[in-house]
Symmetry: C2
Subunit: 324 residues, 2 copies
């Protein structure tokens, strides 16, 4: 079960491995948002997203004998890189099952970080079947991207840092905007804040049209997205909130927020200009919510968890067009 204690134990295991990311701000963003904006840039985490935290947490929590047999993950993106790198640093093997049509750069990066990449054909093959066969044959442990207590606990260490950092800045009440796919990051942060900064209210942020979490929170029941793809925020397109994460979100989160693709790109441009950080579209929906949904936010300070920066140069160049 996911608890604050699991998050705190994960923080101990992550010490000296995950980076403590700073808090950034800019008077220009404050002006645009109509309130003070504090940004936690998880794009600066190892492998370019918060996913490294959950991967390290899950791998380091395994029994030594189990861990030595290696791990497996399905992902074409940030979770893949986090698992590959954390596994390599533990000196164990990792297998990542990726679609054959994934961007070449992501495949190369995942390989370079030490994983064996197994490609499958999205049309004809099931990644779950391939994964299960490999896991059984080789005794690999599956590291799920979000519906896994030790992964949630690792992501929750972002919340522990936030609680300490906002306390130092004298902020005790604020909405905390979090980019949300399956809900691992949001659930972990929510548990940490409940324990250490109860005046901070977590709120999931999503792309419009893929706002399953927002709608699930509104109705109190897990809702699905109509489509599985077709939005630039690829990192956070999941069909529905997780079975483990959703009850946590339902208990602890404020209402969800949703932004357009154009707003996510615009937020990327502004984070380039004002914060000097690189965000990917799915990592920028939280900042976009702060800037473009200000009437839906409460308080004189808003906290933004900018979750990742693994974007293609072409997409980034597209975002920069907002500045010209």
């Amino acid at each position: 079960m996911s608890t604050l204690e699991l998050v705190e134990a994960a923080a101990e295991r992550l010490k000296g491995h995950a980076r403590e990311t700073p808090i950034l701000s800019s008077p220009f963003l404050d002006e645009l948002a109509g309130r003070r904006v504090l940004v936690k840039p998880e794009c600066l985490q190892h492998t370019g997203s918060f996913k490294y935290r959950g991967a390290w947490s899950a791998i380091s929590a395994l029994d030594e004998s189990v861990r030595q047999r290696g791990v497996i993950a399905y992902s074409s993106g940030n979770h893949a890189q986090g698992v590959a790198y954390a596994a390599t640093q533990h000196g164990i093997a990792s297998v990542v099952v990726m679609p054959a049509d994934a961007p070449q750069l992501k495949i190369e990066n995942t390989r370079a970080l030490g994983a064996e990449v197994v490609l499958y054909d999205r049309a004809d093959e099931s990644r779950e079947e391939i994964g299960e066969t490999l896991a059984t044959e080789r005794g690999l442990t599956l590291i799920r991207p979000y519906d896994e207590p030790q992964v949630i606990a690792g992501q929750g260490t972002v919340g522990l840092e936030l609680a300490r950092q906002t306390h130092d800045l004298g902020v005790s009440e604020a909405d905390v905007l979090i980019c949300c796919g399956g809900g691992g990051l949001t659930a972990g942060i929510s548990l940490a804040l409940e324990g250490h900064a109860p005046g901070l209210r977590p709120r999931p942020c999503e792309p419009e049209g893929f706002d399953d979490v927002k709608r699930s929170l509104l109705t109190g029941q897990i809702q699905n997205n109509n489509a599985a793809s077709g939005n630039i925020c690829d990192a956070i397109l999941t069909p529905q909130p997780g079975k483990i994460t959703f009850p946590i979100l339902k208990r602890l989160c404020g209402p969800g927020l949703a932004v357009t693709e154009q707003e996510a790109l615009h937020a990327m441009a502004l984070s380039f200009l004002r914060l000097k950080i690189v965000l990917e579209p799915g990592g920028a929906v939280s900042l976009a919510s702060a800037l473009f949904r200000k009437d839906e936010i409460e308080g004189d300070t808003v906290i933004v968890v900018a979750s990742g920066g693994n974007t293609d140069p072409q997409v980034f160049a597209q975002a920069l067009e907002f500045l010209t």
Copy 2:
């Protein structure tokens, strides 16, 4: 006189104001450089460069009655923004004398940060004369960009942080590559490292053709650049090392390094891809030196001070072309 004691006193005054920037790294950069690369991203500092540290240090060191009359600076770039913002935060007036043909965005930013911008015509007018007249009329204090002990002391706080951070990482011997214009940052860091991390050797990095510091160190005498402009690394084009900074550099620095414009742009692209930070060309010559001058560097670890990120989107888009 510039001393370690001044740097330490500046650090006290900067506490709670300047950001402590983290240390970033990437296994991909390590691979390219042939050694471990630790990057200190001062682009994440307030106003997008280390210049805020020196500005805050100098303004906070003034006697209250002097400070209340306001400050003045000449600069079209990072120093202007640092002085404007630090002055506004101190609740005092600032005047920045800028060329009328400076990029509109930099003029607007400096104004938005609270400065009165006085424009002059590069061809017909002297910024020194305009500045002196204003300073005398209004009793403003001039904040020099580098040849000023309290500015050097403020920039030196980067070195104090580096000494502590590298100690925590177990690094006691390494070359420290520093983007160098007039030498304020390099001199300040050198003083801090001499006192707190004597195994770390500061080395100034410049653009080829504007390597006055490198040549001055080689000859032991202050050398000039042939041209005053005409290089993409605008933030670090100064005619010669400072009168106060050079003796410090001469006493404490290893040999200088120089890179091409293309190498600086390429380093910007790699910091986008691997570190998720935004560097400007003049802020990337240190990383470019680590990646493209590896035979001139000693040791199994190299430390890179990436000094700023105030680049135009057009220049950044040009850098991204290295990735396609």
